[in-house]
């Protein structure tokens, strides 16, 4: 039993790592294509059919580029920072059920690495640690733009942790558990049971905060190209920069898994159709990340802080209070 469990877990970890590293690459391809189509362009076309092998070309380029450590940087921290980003992104995946459990060769597989009873808390915590990637990378870079980006990153991530935590508190109170599997089972009864109907405010808040947590476009000021070049990534090149990139895209994917799991019924009753619907929801939320990037402008840092502390946080607190009252009476 113990050995079987160990082997199963190791296989799951390797599968998640491989699949989501590949998906991160595929994500960049989709992003380029979707953005291109929305801007009446074609996007990558020349490497492979419809530019599909562009991912491979990018991968080869990133892996074989010289690993440059500029003079003046704090080398140790500079080297470790991208690893933190990528590692925390993947660590958060440990508590996410990616699919309903299915039977493979008479063996029941739960596509979750570990169904710990503090799943959401763990994910939020790990995402909080993910802040250290941009922060340390930016501070160690000896580059003023990186430093600005690190400061912004710290401010944004810490502020929006508050929103994430508070907005998710109300659903947690309703479900009475921190495990994402329990969340899913709570909503297994069909569309009418989805938490989004009872907690629409929490849903919108969490979604907004997800943009800040992943640093995607309306809140992309951590690496705002036209102001601060590539922010904390300015001094990075080759695979170290690639790790930041994989981290960012893996984060996007994981958030896209978490939002439907918490609010939109997840994979429902665990049937094949439910699993398909779940993947559809995930795809929509990932697409929405790309969609907003084509459509919306970035907000200023001060506007972002204003939005967080003066608008979203009060709403989140009020939402929690109201939920509490409704549950009490």
């Amino acid at each position: 039993m113990e050995t079987a469990y160990l082997i199963e877990t190791v296989i799951k970890i390797v599968a998640v790592l491989l699949i989501f590293s590949a998906l991160a690459g595929l994500g960049t391809y989709f992003e380029r294509k979707v953005l291109a189509f929305m801007q009446r362009r074609l996007g990558p076309m020349n490497v492979g059919p419809y530019g599909l092998l562009q991912i491979a070309a990018d991968g080869i380029k990133l892996f074989t580029k010289e690993d440059i450590i500029p003079t003046g940087v704090v080398a140790r921290i500079f080297k470790i920072a991208p690893v933190i980003t990528a590692a925390t992104a993947f660590m958060a995946a440990a508590a996410i059920p990616f699919l309903p459990s299915f039977t493979l060769f008479g063996y029941t597989v739960n596509p979750i690495i570990s169904d710990i009873n503090i799943g959401i808390l763990y994910i939020l915590g790990i995402m909080g640690v993910g802040l250290y990637g941009p922060l340390l990378g930016g501070m160690a870079s000896a580059n003023k733009y990186s430093l600005i980006s690190a400061a912004r990153g710290a401010a944004v991530f810490i502020s929006y942790e508050v929103i994430t935590g508070l907005s998710i508190l109300a659903p947690i109170m309703m479900v009475g558990s921190l495990s994402l599997v329990d969340f899913n089972n709570y909503q297994a009864g069909g569309i009418g049971d989805w938490i989004i109907w009872s907690q629409p405010v929490a849903f919108v808040l969490f979604w907004i905060a997800a943009f800040a947590e992943t640093g995607r476009t309306p809140f992309h000021l951590v690496a705002n190209d036209h102001e601060i070049i590539d922010g904390f990534g300015t001094e990075y090149s080759g695979m170290r920069w690639g790790l930041f990139f994989i981290g960012e895209y893996a984060n996007m994917f994981f958030i896209s898994f978490i939002i439907p799991l918490i609010f939109l019924g997840g994979f429902g009753d665990g049937s094949f159709l439910g699993a398909l619907a779940f993947l559809g929801k995930v795809a929509f939320f990932f697409f929405f990340f790309l969609w907003t990037r084509a459509a919306w402008p970035d907000v200023r840092p001060d506007q972002l802080m204003w939005l967080c502390w003066k608008v979203l946080m009060p709403i989140a607190v009020i939402n929690v209070v109201i939920t509490g009252f409704v549950m009490m009476f």
């Binding site: 979707v34 189509f37 801007q39 009446r40 362009r41 074609l42 969609w291 459509a295 919306w296 608008v311």
Partner: protein, 209 residues
């Protein structure tokens, strides 16, 4: 006196054209309640969704404007000034250049070098002619000054070289004799000539909208 005159000009009644209207720009709110109202109004106006719809519409319409360059090319205008060409005479198929040297003289970047000699019929003949394309700024003066319409600009704009001094000599520029015999020499259409298919691409000037 002068200022009075100015005031007169400003206060003059501007005739309001049909369909024109002044954009209503509200004053910025100064008190808290006004700011709050503005935030609520902006939040509920749903402009973000308009933006989302616009890009999604373009994606669905799939009206792609990309020109896949090495495979597809835009037609370039006859006035385009790329690598030079030397023309032949239409009647006798001999070279048009009379070796007058005007192009060498006028070239502002001094990149044309030529030499002439008498041929067996005691006529002036170009013996050497080269243009340093690394220096040429493609100003078109040589083509403009040529009395014989011998040197003109062609449409060959894709050049690559291993060094900065990239020369082109007379023989490279001269219309090949077989092409001349086939009657396919491209004449310079003259200054002010328009790009092919220009008629279809003509649009109203923005002022007319």
């Amino acid at each position: 006196m002068h200022s009075e005159h100015n005031e007169q000009v400003i206060t003059k009644e501007v005739p309001v054209k049909k369909g024109y209207y002044l954009v209503d720009i509200e004053d910025y709110p100064t008190d808290g309640w006004g700011k709050f109202k503005r935030v609520v109004k902006r939040t509920l106006r749903g402009e973000l969704f308009v933006g989302l719809w616009v890009v999604l519409r373009e994606m669905i319409k799939f009206d792609i404007h990309t020109i896949q360059y090495p495979a597809e090319k835009m037609p370039i205008g006859p006035r385009y000034r790329a690598v030079h060409e030397m023309k032949r005479l239409l009647e006798s198929d001999t070279e048009r250049c009379i070796g007058c040297g005007l192009c060498e003289k006028i070239c502002i970047s001094n990149c044309i070098r030529m030499d002439t000699r008498y041929d067996e019929n005691s006529r002036k003949e170009v013996s050497e002619y080269s243009i340093n394309l690394g220096r040429c700024i493609f100003c078109g003066y040589c083509a403009e000054v040529c009395p014989e319409l011998a040197i003109t600009h062609g449409g060959r704009y894709e050049n690559a070289s291993e060094q900065r001094e990239h020369f082109i000599v007379y023989e490279d520029m001269l219309t090949p004799i077989d092409q001349m015999k086939a009657g396919t020499q491209q004449e310079f259409q003259g200054f002010g000539s328009i790009t092919p298919h220009e008629d279809e691409r003509v649009k109203k000037t923005p002022l007319a909208y």
